[in-house]
Amino acid sequence: MSLIEIKNLNVNYKTTRGEVHAVRGVNLSVAKGEVLAIVGESGCGKSALLKSVMGLMPANAVVTGQVSAFDRELVSLREKEWQGIRGKQISMLFQDPMTTLNPTMTIGSQIAEALLIHHPKMEKEKVRKRVYELLSLVGIKEPEVRAKQYPYQFSGGMRQRSVLAIAIANEPELLLADEPTTALDVTVQAQILGLLQEIQKKLNMTTILVSHDLRVVSSIADRVAVMYAGKIVEIGTRDEIFGDPKHPYTWGLLRSLPEYSQGKEMLFTIPGMPPDLRQDFVGDAFAPRNRYALQIDYEEEPPLFAVSDTHKAATWLLDERAPRVDFSAMDMVHEVSMEEHEHAPRNHGEDPEKPLVSINHLTKDFELPGKKKMTAVKDVSFSIMPGEIFGLVGESGSGKSTVARCIMNAYTDFEGEIFYDEIPLHDRMARRRERRRLSTERQMIFQDSASSLNGRMKISDIVTEPFRIRHEKPKRGSLKKEAAYQLSYVGMDEGYLNKHPGELSGGQRQRVAIARAVATDPKLLIADEPIAALDVSIQAQIINLFKHLQEEHGFSILFIAHDLAMVRFLCDRVGVMVDGEMVEMGETEEIFANPRHAYTKELLAAIPKIGKERP
């Protein structure tokens, strides 16, 4: 018995830059008590899909089709009618709990509000009891105290629990979750997922979960639907999708996970980028990125072919006239567009035994308004050898970014010693003397490419900025040639030279940032969460780029991330940080196979495992 059926749902909305076809003819049905996960990358329309089920799209959106649930047709409902349904029969969980909670109301009152809207006559005492009940249900201790607090006094995980409490306050039959764990740390993510599962089972709540994180989906879903460019391209049970994907996109997505490339040279990548939904598609939208595309893919859109009763995929490859394709056999690994470039000699003439960067007892405090002190980094020591990739992992607030900035001298008032190639970075005079070397040989790449590139500068200027600052003549003659060269080096063509960062996608911006960093031929590259904000398929491309560049140039990389699987694939050695301290450090495989510190164990256990069967 399906609780909700979606037929031919189309969602369009107008923006200043054109009309976006976010959802193009989606058909879905979800049975009672089932957990359906919708997987897709950013811009594939999954958020729009979810929002339109609840009628939450902004006024400039046009929703057509049928959404049938609770014996009603939801698409044509008017606002007034929705008010009886939202929060009572259907609830929604959002991505960023910091902004979705009203900062000026107490948590308790926000939960109470959810109750009172639908039960306006409930007595105060009863409401209060229920609020405490809900808070305990979602795992918040001391609910009497917590209910009187404001959102800013809660941690990220607690906030998301509160949002969950609001969502289940009236025991809805259907829960929609829009990337509920994306904004959370790994360990917290695991807790919230566990909580979700527990509550879902207890209340027998039908759940539709949207995520771009395959691992999350794998751990919680009964059925999985894969979405690309506004359409469902494959749908089936969890085991079917993860064990036997039939659509090349699904397969590519899974395959690009670092878990499947451990020990290999490069990660598997899907070439190209997710498409812009403003255009009209002819044929299969995935065709331009599909290695296995057939001629007909460019002409006609594939219908959903049935692989089994529960498993369907929209690809012409399943048509009986199509050639037989075995995905696993064809394991093309390297990207087509990366050519060989002349490169600097691998060995910069250093002694491979001597560390490039040495950090001894680094401690950094911050002064907060109100004369309070916060210690971001406590007595951290480690070293980075030339040519090695060192991974620094930890959750938010662990201090890893601070360490990076100390090494780059963004902060100069730290205690302890940092040596870069024997230059004492903690010594001002030495920094002054070696300024030239320090500014060329150390480079940094940030997580948020949008803010690390000046939105008002052209790409060509950004890439050649290091040269212009130092009034140096670039190796390729003119600045323009240099820019073109560097861009092609990171796999982007010349056409981007005159564009601005705002016109590029996240992945492209990150490439530009990398080009800028590599332009000066550095010896140390610090990458601070460089891929966290990118789509899964793009992440693999960027990681491959890093690896490729590192092999050609031989520089050391300090790779800061919280995606442990990526770290495991890329790094030679790893350091784990918690609350400002480095609790464990060693060879990558050692750490992953035999974690010693309790926190490391917890971190590793928190990663949802991708496997053919559910553990």
């Binding site: 939202r86 009572k88 960023d96």
Partner: protein, 324 residues
């Protein structure tokens, strides 16, 4: 708690002193002749000795610091000296005219902020629809017109052409009823309100619109709240603290802005007084007026600060975020 407010009071007192010193010295150093206000045109005919004598009498020859000291001593006792022009005690002169400005400014203040709130909410609710567009256009035009011109036009239309309302003064000669005073108040009040209304209404409109676009509105909608309830219970409510602090800061602004209106309508408030004392170097009057307005300004600032720091949980939230 006590330390917090005590500190504020201290800052207040210190600021007043600094202000008084500044005004004192600056006004005395400016070009112009204070004797003119006292003696009028006779000054030109005075001989140098007579001038010296006059200046000594008024204590103008002494070094600045001595003069300031004298001023401090006297003002502590409430004696602000004599207005050169009016030849009465400065305090008297001010007290005479203060109530008028207070009424004009005070009532105006209340009207402005209540109407602005209403108007702002109406506009926000009908965002970009016809009503909002009309109000915005009208508001923009009215906010552009210089106050004095509005005053002139109103007088032209209502007083001269239509002969409905009086054109000047606070009350008619020899008449002193409440209704008469009210009649006289209508036109100046209209100008005062019109002059500032749209500025604040637009600000409120935008603040509310900003709130509407925040993520928690989406959650509220998902809970099943009606649009109206979301607007009032969440959006408007959230912007009230900043509105209050805006009001606090605007007090001196509006009270002081009555000056122009007072001039055109010959309304006997302290606005014209301020101008005259500055122009004609009527030092004592000037000092008293500056101190008064200074106190209002600083007080308004402080109240706004207190509201911001104590009442708005969001500011506290931002502080807390710094700790992460």
């Amino acid at each position: 708690m006590i330390r917090y407010y005590g500190g504020k009071i201290l800052i207040f007192i210190v600021s007043i002193f600094v202000l008084s010193f500044l005004v004192f010295t600056v006004s005395r150093m400016a070009p112009g002749d204070p004797l003119v206000s006292y003696y009028g045109d006779r000054v030109e005919k005075m001989t140098p000795e007579e001038r010296e004598h006059a200046e000594n009498r008024l204590g103008l020859r002494d070094p600045i610091l001595t003069q300031y000291q004298r001023f401090l001593e006297k003002s502590m006792q409430g004696d602000f000296g004599i207005s050169y022009k009016y030849k009465r005690s400065a305090t008297e002169v001010v007290l005479d005219r203060l109530p008028y400005t207070l009424v004009l400014g005070g009532v105006g203040f209340v009207l402005i902020f209540s109407l602005a709130l209403l108007l702002g909410i109406v506009c926000a609710v009908h965002e970009d629809r016809l009503l909002d567009q009309i109000i915005c256009k009208v508001g923009t035009v009215t906010s552009c017109i210089p106050e004095f011109w509005v005053s002139l036009m109103l007088i032209l239309i209502f007083a001269v052409e239509l002969k409905l309302l009086p054109s000047s003064g606070a009350h008619s000669l020899r008449v002193d009823t409440l209704s008469d005073r009210l009649l006289h108040l209508i036109l100046p009040m209209t100008v005062v309100v019109l002059g500032h209304l749209w500025y604040y209404a637009y600000m409120i409109r935008n603040k509310i619109l900003e709130e509407i676009r925040r993520d928690y509105v989406l959650l509220a909608k998902a809970k099943g709240l009606s649009k109206r309830k979301i607007l009032y219970r969440h959006c408007v409510r959230n912007m009230i603290p900043s509105y209050l602090s805006l009001m606090a800061i605007s007090v001196p602004h509006i009270l002081g802005g009555t000056y122009i209106v007072e001039t055109v309508f010959s309304f006997p408030g302290i606005g014209t007084l301020a101008y005259e004392s500055a122009r004609f170097h009527d030092y004592n009057l000037l000092m008293l007026l500056s101190l008064l307005s200074g106190m209002v300004v600083i007080l308004g600032n402080m109240v706004a600060q207190i509201i911001n720091e104590r009442i708005d949980p969001r500011i506290q939230a931002k502080e807390a975020m710094h700790e992460r």
